[in-house]
Each structure stands twice: as structure tokens, then as C-alpha cells.
Symmetry: D2
Subunit: 124 residues, 4 copies
Amino acid sequence: MKTLGHFLQTGDWKGEKHVPVIHAPEKTKAGEAFELKISIGDEIKHPNTLEHHISWFKVFFHPEGSKFPVEIGNFKFTAHGEGDIYDEPVVSTNVKLNKSGTIYALSYCNIHGLWENFKEIVVE
Amino acid sequence: MKTLGHFLQTGDWKGEKHVPVIHAPEKTKAGEAFELKISIGDEIKHPNTLEHHISWFKVFFHPEGSKFPVEIGNFKFTAHGEGDIYDEPVVSTNVKLNKSGTIYALSYCNIHGLWENFKEIVVE
Amino acid sequence: MKTLGHFLQTGDWKGEKHVPVIHAPEKTKAGEAFELKISIGDEIKHPNTLEHHISWFKVFFHPEGSKFPVEIGNFKFTAHGEGDIYDEPVVSTNVKLNKSGTIYALSYCNIHGLWENFKEIVVE
Amino acid sequence: MKTLGHFLQTGDWKGEKHVPVIHAPEKTKAGEAFELKISIGDEIKHPNTLEHHISWFKVFFHPEGSKFPVEIGNFKFTAHGEGDIYDEPVVSTNVKLNKSGTIYALSYCNIHGLWENFKEIVVE
Ligand SMILES: [Fe+3]
Ligand SMILES: [Fe+3]
Ligand SMILES: [Fe+3]
Ligand SMILES: [Fe+3]
């Protein structure tokens, strides 16, 4: 059957420049904000032009034992050369969790499609 | 391995109220705009409250033979009771294709997660 | 003082191709869904290329007598030639109101900036 | 005349909890990425619940002498209690400029509407 899930590509971000890197602590305290950073280009820069760029990141959290992931945020990079202005595919925000689980990052390149990564986090 | 793809649920929209319905012609002409409508609630209404609502649709197109899907649009429903105003999970836009392929719709309920559907379209 | 409001341009959509047109009934019934359509290009087409395109519409409603507008939706047109696919700046959704007021549409061209329009609607 | 610009509120973020704070250097080098951070709550926390929360930031840059602002990014905070998960209205990204000008931040509270702030930046 055709599913969108088949198009969610992944890989090692050290060698594949489309894979979003998730920067988060291994452990955090329940109800305490921590910095969650998602980036592309830590090792290999991706082009940033009108014709070819990273368009957005979506971030989800799946609490262990839950049936469903919850969307944390949607981060859209809009300037890719307009007025000689560039927004790079790097974003940080502050997140509070109350249960251990898995952070998922989804990214979209306007030419090379959808890419994902995940990172487990323990909430104490 | 953990992947976001595992969380993309689907089903028959006549019985499962979270599945987005794709309204598009079976055939269209290359380079000619057609109306593409995505909706939830054709058969069974989903709740529309601050606590529980359909948050957005993303629409992709996969041209046959291509490696990657292309995002067509992102449609965010923002009013779920603020000021007694409600935006329902229904959206139409106009799309031009030049190759046959598959339309994918992805929807997100803030409680029940991610749902998808697809529809093939022939471009003549 | 510098304000973003200074950059919200407007005009007659019959002569200025960036102004969003708001298609809505003059009157509607409280709590009953009506179709709200926003479009650019009814009279004069705007370019739709990677270099120059209408990027998104935001729609707000201001209930009369209220201090604040409420965001109804955010509609992002993502395909401007990738894979020879084009999403045109036209969107319809279904809205329920419970009070008379004013609909505002805001659009963004990646070259020519922000444009707005408004339309009053009576809720009976 | 009715304009959306009338609803763009502002104030001193030290006393008004809805005003986005723009953290950016006074000076930067042409074509060199710098960290741009936008936040609400540096001094006074805003509520973060399903009923009342900061929904998003939009960021624009107006190069001096230009007629139009360019959108840099759109940052949407999606988790406001679903699954006991919270995304706070804080975001950082990396931006490259090539001309001096003004950064504008626009924020939206689902109850108290639109708020803006600006900060000038010199590009050497
Ligand atoms: Fe790419
Ligand atoms: Fe649901
Ligand atoms: Fe334009
Ligand atoms: Fe507020």
C-alpha cells in the first residue's frame, strides 16, 4: 500500500546532509524547561538558495506507553536569498516534559523530500 | 527501529473520523489548474474545541517514478473556540501538475496524532 | 516609530495583483458554517515561480466591540515549481461565527512583502 | 479605514508580557551567520495552557532603503498541555544579512491578539 511513511528517509547525519540532528540532554527533570535544538548542517552544509533549501522542521514527542505522538513545534525557514537574507536550518526552543519518551524531528528539503531522526530522553 | 512513519495511521474515512478525505478529479490536464479539496468530517464530525481539534493538513504530491514527494501546501486551522469562532478542517486550493502521480494528505489531531490518506491522479 | 503596520500595503485588487480578495457572504447565521475563500489572481495573475510567488495567507476575524482579532487560519502555498508542481494562491475553508465583525486577510509575496484586505460580515 | 495594522500592539516587554523580545547583536558582519533569538517571558511569564498561550512568532527583516520587509521565519509553538508537554515561546535561529536594517518580531496570543517589536542591526 502507498503510504507517506515510505518517504520518510533517515541516515547518519555525519554523512547525510539532510538528516536533522537533535540536541537535547539525556536526562531532564519533570516540568523543568530544557533547551531543545534541531539543526541541519552540523557536519555538512546543505545549500540555501531559492531553488534548493531546507524548508522546515517539525518536532514531535512520543511519551513512552502512549499511542500517539504530540507535536511540539513547527519551525519554518522562510528567507533563502530574498533581499540577500538567509535563514539557516537551525532552531532552538524550550520544552517541558513530564514523562520519558522519544523526540522525533522531521525535516523537508524542497528537492530531496522528507527526512527524520529521533532521540530518547529520560524524565526524572 | 523507531520511526515517525510508524505513527502515521490510516483507515476508512467513512468509519474513522480522523482520516483526511482527498477530493480531486481522477484525471487532469498537464499545466491546468484543478481544485484539490481535503476535508475531515464528511461522514463523521470530529470535535472542534480548544482541548481537542484537527490542527492542520499537509499535502504532498509524488510524481510517479520520482524518488521524493513535493509538499504542495500546509493548511493550519487556528480558531477552535477563541471568541466563539471556529475554523473547520476543510480546505480547497488550486493545483497544477505536469505528471501523473499520487496525492498524499497528512492530518494532525492534537489528541490522536497523525493520520494519512492518498489518491492517485492521472495527468494527460 | 518603526512599526510592522507601516508595511501592510493595500489597494484595489482589480488593479493591484497582490491584494487578497475575500469571498464571503454579506450575512451569515450564528453557529452555521459558511465557505470563506481567499484568493489572489481573480483579475491579474501573480507570478508563481521559485524566485517570485505568493507564499501564504493569514486570516483573522475581529468581532465588533472586541479589543483583539482572532486568527482563523494560516494557509501556506509550498509548491512553486518543484517537480513542475504549482500551488496557486487560492484557498477556501469553512468558518463558524457567532457575532458580526470584520474578516481580515493578510498575504505575503516573497519579493513585494505584506498586503491586506478586509470585509465586514453580519451574523444574524 | 479598517486595517490589520491597527491591531498590532506594542509596549515595553519589561512590563507587558505579550511583547516579543528580540535578542540580536548591535552589529554583525555581512554574510556571516549570527544567532537571532525571540522570546516572550524574559521578565513576566505568559500562561501556557490550551485555553491561553502564545501561538507563534513571525520574524521579518527590513533592509534600510528597501520598500518591502522580507520574512525570515515562522515559528509555531504547538504543545500547550497535550500529553503534559509544553513548548515555551522562545526560539533561536541563525541568520545571515548583507545590509543594515531592522528586525521585526510579530507574536500572537490566542486571547490577546497580535504584538510586535523591532530592533535595528548594523551590518559591516
Ligand atoms: Fe536537498
Ligand atoms: Fe481526535
Ligand atoms: Fe509579487
Ligand atoms: Fe495573552
